[in-house]
Symmetry: C2
Subunit: 222 residues, 2 copies
């Protein structure tokens, strides 16, 4: 019974995600869905992206959290349209919430969706994005791709963030990358520090390429 209901919810979600994908296709918007554990640095990364792309690419942001609008407030300070979805206990964003949000923010070349901090539940919910980007912090250890494989299998790119902390940890980022690739060999890998700025350019240039490709209707995944 529970499984039937879940199956129906997921099927409905896929249908709404399909509608979103068509909408983003016609507006030539490249969309990423940022997923991670709580506190891996999603919002700091979004702030870095905004600063890097300022004047180059129009963007808007949808942020999901169980409670508070702390993240959207942080992002709005950078003069970018940001809409907060408070899930009120919900452990992931769903496509219907994104569809509703899209009517409230201006269309842009790049849409960043920052999901609820959770490595389990958001993995199964398609939000109509072009790419799921999973962020991990080396402080979380090397084994997270093995323990939460669905998230890594369903992502197109991985960002190993907070690399400035590696000297203080007994953790190898090569091992994180190896474990992630053992789940999904096609993952595009980035290594960043939002504190020092290292690796931000590489990730933003990847975004720019995809934004351009989407404008030509040749984005990643299409």
């Amino acid at each position: 019974m529970k499984i039937d209901i879940e199956k129906r919810i997921l099927e409905k979600n896929i249908m709404v995600a399909h509608t979103i994908r068509e909408r983003l296709e016609s507006s030539h918007t490249f969309a990423i869905n940022l997923v991670s554990s709580p506190g891996s640095g999603k919002t700091s990364l979004v702030e870095r992206i905004i600063d890097y792309l300022h004047g180059k690419v129009t963007l808007s942001v949808i942020v999901g959290d169980v409670q508070t609008d702390i993240d959207a407030s942080r992002i709005r300070r950078h003069d970018v349209p940001a809409l907060q979805i408070e899930t009120e206990g919900g452990c992931h964003l769903n496509a219907a919430q994104i569809e509703g949000a899209l009517g409230k923010i201006p269309s842009s070349r790049l849409l960043i969706i920052e999901n609820v901090g959770n490595l389990v539940c958001p993995a199964n919910y398609d939000l109509g994005e072009d790419a799921k980007v999973v962020i991990v912090s080396p402080t979380e250890g090397e084994d997270k791709p093995l323990k939460y494989p669905i998230m890594f299998a369903n992502s197109q790119a991985i960002i190993i963030n907070k690399i400035d902390l590696v000297p203080y940890l007994d953790v190898s980022i090569d091992e994180i990358e190896k474990n992630a690739r053992s789940i999904n060999p096609a993952l595009v890998v980035f290594k960043t520090s939002c504190k020092t700025g290292e690796g931000i350019e590489e990730f933003c240039e990847w975004l720019c390429e995809n934004v351009k490709a989407k404008a030509l209707n040749k984005a990643h995944g299409s």
Copy 2:
């Protein structure tokens, strides 16, 4: 419809948790449910507890993960009975899983349940424990208690772990504590580093007091 099903699942879970609580009462077992984001250091903490309590308190461990038995293997190396529950996609442990596991491990004075790394879903599932202990790492930022309030409201103690990393972060552990107490003023607060061993004694002594009290049927919460 979805809400009805969820309500029924939660009600059934409470009933099973009640049975577990009676069982642990009669065996004078003090049980904690360790909850946190992925990678906050739950397993390292369990290893530290085992080493500290060696020869003082008998203990057994139940570990939940979406996939892999990495954690139970780590714990078994310390000659402690450890049972791994692989949830296969499930985002939290439930009481029925714990009830099943209890039949497979020896009874002990202290039972440690290490939940799936997730700050959302495990908050609502009573496992029959005496105390939920939420672990946060300062690398996750200061705002997690505000963003995931149900977990902090439902916990009896908080461990701020990895305090050895604080010098390398723009984070105040006083602020984490303040935010946690704003959600739940009754939280018992511990600050630990599994790397240096700082604070482990204080937490283990709190466990010992509760183990003794439970033996006298006066444990926390009863």
